[in-house]
């Protein structure tokens, strides 16, 4: 089966007015399989949006190729464009002076849907699914931010493209609207088999939605793996020990590698232990130090911690490709980054 998105040696160099070159994306290689929810993560200026725009044909790459379902974005532009719908960050994407219905019909025709019957049926289906049907005749400018974003998403999907690119789709949305968009992304992939590429700063959302994530920093790819694999790679023997009341500095020294913090009148000791230490050994150490143990629980790393660690590491030295670098770092203590 063809990859939904194939990116090969993709680079983008912007020339600034002073004559300096800014390498926004550097030799990026990436594959997104059909039906996946793919998360594109990175700090501001990491190169995510530039990559997305190159995939949409809006920014011309300096080098490299992008293929959408096998169609080269430069050589087979028309066919490639039929493969995608997108909602780009920071813009309206639709006409706020027009109502939702008018926008969907307009963008449907622009995206090559010639059958009026098919277009109207699709617009109705999308508006009903997104709870916009009742207000379809109101100008989009009068909607709430969440509803406006829903219209933008519906416009991206009006021609039923197999690939959907969503650049910060929940930016500026309240909790409820954000939840609707998240549910919809899941539905798009799980029930309709769409490939969804998502850029977001909300790492909890990426963790819960994405089958695979790519982490970028300064235009370079730091990691590109299935989300579960990335989490496994960072999963260590990391524990949280909750003890009653406060503890003395001398007591903490008896449990090496742990740091203490206060939480609801109790003390929480967090730290990593070596592979040969069991939970029972930890219980003995805590009790031996004279502490009043409440409980011990393993702490799972989350995508946010992994993201911070990778980005911080990339800022310290040259970015490396994911697999070997991540495996080699396995033993590193992530408690320093807030685990």
């Amino acid at each position: 089966m063809k990859a939904a998105i194939e990116i090969e040696s993709l680079s983008k160099i912007f020339r600034s007015r002073g004559g300096d070159d800014i390498e926004a994306v550097s030799r990026l290689d990436l594959t997104v399989e059909p039906g996946q929810v793919f998360g594109f993560l990175g700090s501001n200026g990491a190169g995510k949006t530039t990559t997305i725009k190159m995939a949409c044909g809006l920014v011309q790459p300096t080098t490299g190729t992008v293929r959408l379902n096998g169609f080269d974005i430069r050589r087979q532009r028309g066919q490639a464009m039929q493969q995608i719908g997108s909602v780009l960050e920071g813009t309206r994407n639709v006409y706020w002076r027009m109502n939702a219905w008018q926008n969907l019909l307009y963008f449907g025709r622009i995206k090559g849907v010639t059958s009026g019957k098919e277009l109207k049926a699709r617009a109705e289906q999308l508006l009903r699914e997104l709870d916009l049907w009742e207000r379809r005749k109101d100008p989009v400018g009068e909607y709430s931010r969440g509803m406006q974003q829903k219209v933008a998403i519906a416009a991206a999907l009006i021609a039923d493209p197999p690939i959907v690119l969503l650049d910060e789709p929940t930016l500026g949305l309240d909790v409820q609207a954000s939840r609707t968009v998240r549910d919809w992304i899941t539905q798009l992939s799980a029930e309709r088999g769409k490939t969804v590429v998502l850029t977001t700063h909300q790492l909890d959302m990426a963790e819960s939605l994405c089958d695979r994530v790519a982490i970028m920093s300064r235009g370079q790819l730091l990691a590109h793996r299935p989300t579960s694999e990335l989490l496994d790679l960072f999963r260590r023997e990391f524990y949280k020990i909750r003890v009653r009341g406060g503890i003395r500095p001398g007591e903490l020294k008896m449990i090496p590698g742990f740091t203490a913090s206060r939480e609801n009148g109790h003390t929480v000791l967090s730290g990593e232990v070596s592979a040969d230490v069991t939970v029972f050994d930890l219980v003995e150490q805590v009790q031996g130090a004279g502490m009043d143990l409440i409980g011990i629980s393993p702490a799972e790393p989350n995508l946010e911690e992994i993201f911070i660690e990778l980005v911080e590491r990339a800022e310290l030295g040259p970015a490396q490709d994911s697999a070997m670098e991540l495996d080699a770092s396995h033993s590193r203590n992530i408690s320093e980054t807030g685990g």
């Binding site: 011309q60 066919q79 813009t91 309206r92 994407n93 027009m98 622009i110 010639t114």
Partner: protein, 274 residues
């Protein structure tokens, strides 16, 4: 297979029509949403003509003298509309992100742009008929309908849209061409021969005025529509030949500049930035 091919052929034939209707649909909706502004502007355009006519004629304009002025003025209105559409319109769409959505269409951007231009022309024609009709009724001006004027009008508008494409291309790259658009719109109003025929200008100014879009078109249009000259006679005296060359140059150069603007905007990532 035959079925698929025929469906594809039908779609190819229907597509330009769909694009054109789609753009007209959008233009009319957007115009209606700004109907108060639209009505005010229409009134202002009417008053502006009356005011300038009074000023130019020393306070006593005669209807027969106002016909050439009105013909030129209405042609200028097309120019103002096309220039606004291509520069201000593109700038606004860059800001709202709808231009990027247009460029993500599987249809060629040239086809979409042509659809937009024709839609803009149809809407401005409706406005011209409205404003022109009211002015003719109120001021007793008569402009005869002569079919021979149609090719002259089409040539004039072709050159005009070429010039608008040029500004559109510049807008894609430089964004802030507002002042230039305004300058050009005003320059066209006073130098296209609407109120002061180019023959009465100093030679250097006449040469410059004749190089502008619409000036030559208005001159030939007047002679054909108002002075009743045939197309053969304006061809033989060279004025129609010059109009054809003038419009072709504007269209080719304008389209070239627009394509250049698109390329630069894609290279620099400017389609969605302001």
């Amino acid at each position: 297979m035959t079925m698929t091919r025929s469906v594809l052929m039908t779609r190819t034939v229907l597509m330009p029509g769909t694009v054109l209707l789609n753009e007209c649909y959008k233009r009319i909706i957007l115009l209606w949403s700004y109907r108060f502004n639209f009505l005010t502007e229409t009134l202002m355009i009417g008053f502006l003509f009356v005011g300038i006519s009074f000023f130019v004629s020393g306070g006593s304009p005669a209807p027969e003298q106002m016909a050439p002025a009105l013909l030129g003025y209405l042609t200028w209105f097309f120019a103002a509309f096309a220039i606004g559409d291509m520069s201000q319109g593109i700038r606004e769409e860059t800001q709202t992100g709808t231009l990027e959505q247009m460029y993500m269409s599987p249809l060629p951007s040239g086809l979409l742009l042509a659809g937009r231009s024709v839609a803009s022309l149809l809407v401005s024609s409706a406005m011209v008929i409205l404003v022109g009709g009211i002015l003719m009724l109120l001021l007793g001006i008569r402009i005869p309908v002569r079919l021979e004027g149609a090719p002259i009008f089409i040539l004039t508008i072709t050159g005009l849209y070429g010039f608008a494409f040029l500004l559109g291309g510049a807008t894609l790259v430089f964004k802030q061409v507002n002042a230039l658009s305004n300058l050009m719109t005003n320059m066209l109003l006073f130098l296209n021969g609407s109120f002061l025929t180019v023959e009465r200008m100093p030679v250097w100014l006449e040469t410059f005025a004749r190089s502008l879009p619409t000036t030559q078109g208005i001159d030939v249009l007047r002679r054909v529509v108002l002075d009743d000259l045939s197309l053969t006679s304006v061809w033989q005296d060279g004025s129609l030949v010059w109009l054809v060359a003038h419009s072709a140059i504007f269209l080719i150069v304008g389209w070239g500049v627009f394509l250049w603007g698109e390329r630069v905007a894609r290279r620099r990532g400017l389609l969605g930035q302001y």
